[in-house]
């Protein structure tokens, strides 16, 4: 777990990262009232969608650098060559990414939900979807980030690869929140989100490791 410790040390040393992700999230959500106009019922209607789209964009933006600096400075080659399994290394990096970006989003979400005029009784469901969904975003995003290493305009390309895969998460998460707002059962959607998370956990470290191996060739 040397990787875990180093990543946490790096995050700690470099300080303000999580704060920045929260800030991006907040700004992106706040842009909407500007763009759409501050009518409370429209806002409440589009609230869950906006919060989730912002979460998705925030995850994607912070994703891009996940392996990039290791790739640029030659660390990646050494990680690939190390006797410890690359899959574990990748999993550790993804975990740290989620701890520093996903978790803060969950903390900030209730505040934004209030700003978007959402009824307080859907908050638990909103948080549950974020808790199940954001790790999936980190996992899927890691595969994309590994694939675009060394590509031109990696950032835009990453969004192209990853956003379509994020769509199911978005749909079921917003579906759950909307269902909760309409007093319908949300179990089905939450189960699917859980399924997506499990699937992503099973696949993504392997896929990302394979992508990293070919990236250093």
């Amino acid at each position: 777990m040397a990787v875990l410790r180093r990543e946490l040390a790096l995050v700690h040393r470099q300080g303000v990262d999580s704060a920045m992700v929260i800030a991006f999230f907040v700004i992106a959500v706040v842009l909407f009232p500007f763009g759409v106009g501050p009518e409370p019922n429209v806002l409440a209607r589009i609230g869950p969608g906006v919060i989730w789209v912002a979460a998705l964009l925030a995850a994607m933006l912070s994703m891009e650098r996940l392996f990039q600096s290791d790739y640029d400075d030659g660390s990646l080659e050494l990680l690939v060559l190390a006797p410890s399994a690359l899959e574990m290394t990748v999993a550790a990096k993804i975990l740290v990414h989620w701890l520093t970006t996903g978790l803060p989003l969950i903390v900030a979400a209730p505040l934004l939900a209030v700003m978007m005029n959402m009824p307080t009784d859907v908050f638990p469901v909103l948080l549950a979807t974020l808790a199940l969904g954001t790790p999936t975003l980190s996992l899927i995003g890691a595969v994309g980030a590994a694939l675009v290493l060394g590509a031109r305009r990696g950032g835009v390309l990453l969004s192209l690869l990853v956003l379509p895969l994020f769509i199911p998460v978005l749909i079921f998460a917003v579906g759950a929140v909307d269902a909760a707002a309409a007093d319908l059962p949300t179990k089905a959607q939450l189960l699917i989100l859980g399924g997506l998370l499990t699937g992503a956990m099973a696949l993504s470290p392997w896929a990302a490791a394979a992508a990293l191996r070919q990236a250093v060739e």
Binding site: L147, A151, L203, Q214, A215
Partner: protein, 240 residues
């Protein structure tokens, strides 16, 4: 240095031999299929003539899935055995698959308007097909995003394999979730459940689409191989 970029001469010869056959057979089955579909098969007792959209929609939806599976298999072959032709084949398949997916989406949505009263719903089947379309686009973008073509091919191959999880989701979405879209009636364990008068044109059209794919993929592969040979030549002239 010729053994690596050596023209896969045998493949080229084979491809040139197959191409005309595929082309003519395709035109013949297409003509027959269209005739059955448009004139000889009955209008549905519920749907009327809109049912005829089916003869385009269903084969292209099948092709969308088929192309992706083919692409994923060839990607696996190229990653595991490093067979150079597998890369070329996967690369040639992607745009064809994307086009068929697009066709399935458009015809489906044209069909949806009379049947469901809307162009589009966010049900599991439709959403997963849309994701498939984006996967094709992402695959092509990734492949072209690298300075070194072989690097692009490898990255794209991994993406194709990852995206393959979407295929069973598309196939079984109609069974797992209750969707507006109807479940399988041709390709199912207990045999087809639609009437022969509709099945015949459907199968004819499906065969025609497959042949079209075979023809186009061979043409595209040959073109790609020529381009690769040209690049190798240019590198050699460039020195070192």
């Amino acid at each position: 240095m010729f053994h690596y970029f050596a023209n896969p001469t045998r493949f080229l010869r084979l491809a040139r031999a197959i191409e005309p056959w595929a082309l003519w057979l395709m035109l013949a089955t297409l003509a027959a299929g269209l005739w059955y579909a448009l004139f000889s098969s009955p209008a549905d007792y519920q749907q009327g003539h809109t049912v005829r959209i089916m003869y385009i929609h269903v084969p292209s939806a099948w092709m969308a899935l088929f192309c992706y599976v083919a692409m994923a298999i060839m990607s696996a072959v190229s990653l595991i055995w490093k067979h150079p032709l597998a890369d070329v084949a996967a690369k040639a398949t992607a745009p064809i698959g994307a086009a068929f997916t697009f066709l399935a989406l458009v015809t489906g949505s044209l069909w949806g308007k009379p049947m469901w009263g809307t162009w589009w719903v966010w049900d599991a089947r439709l959403t997963s097909v849309l994701v498939l379309f984006f996967l094709y686009l992402g695959y092509m973008a990734l492949q072209n995003a690298f300075d070194d073509p072989s690097r692009g091919a490898r990255a794209a191959a991994i993406l194709a394999l990852v995206g393959a999880v979407n295929v069973p989701i598309i196939k079984f979405s109609v069974d797992w979730w209750n969707t507006l879209h109807q479940p399988a009636s041709v390709v199912r364990m207990d045999g087809p459940t639609i009437h022969a008068s509709m099945l015949t044109p459907l199968l004819l059209m499906a065969v025609a689409f497959k042949l079209y794919y075979v023809w186009l993929v061979l043409v595209r592969m040959r073109r790609e191989l020529m381009a690769a040979r040209l690049r190798a030549l240019r590198h050699r002239q460039a020195g070192t």
